[in-house]
Symmetry: C2
Subunit: 82 residues, 2 copies
Amino acid sequence: MTYNVQIRVMPLKELLDPQGKAVMGGLRNLGIQSVEDVRIGKHITLQIEAESEAAAKDIADAASKKLLANPVMEFYEIEMIN
Amino acid sequence: MTYNVQIRVMPLKELLDPQGKAVMGGLRNLGIQSVEDVRIGKHITLQIEAESEAAAKDIADAASKKLLANPVMEFYEIEMIN
């Protein structure tokens, strides 16, 4: 069966996020003042062929560990959809 | 009140996603064969000071339209958390 898996890869909370800071500055320049913090990461959707939802999640976890997320700077969260 | 808003910005479904294709190739090279499609976009969290949830969502929508998403190539989805 085919499973759709979403992975969110975000900069660790204790680290600065320069891209987010730059976007916050850009929003200020556009007149949007009420945004107090911006953090930017990656959103990845995988379509995985697997025998069960648990197996698909394991594959997504392996993909995140091996390639998608850099644990020194990022954390990831996996969400199964339908 | 402060609201946490999540925005997902993804490449339009009808467009190729070269970054996703490259990551799929990388996963194959690492021995992960069962991933059939990969799409990569941005995940953005905003912390917004607003009077109501609806007002916060409007600000996130304006930020997406003006800066975060390029409608020619991307679509976005907004989700309020807590």
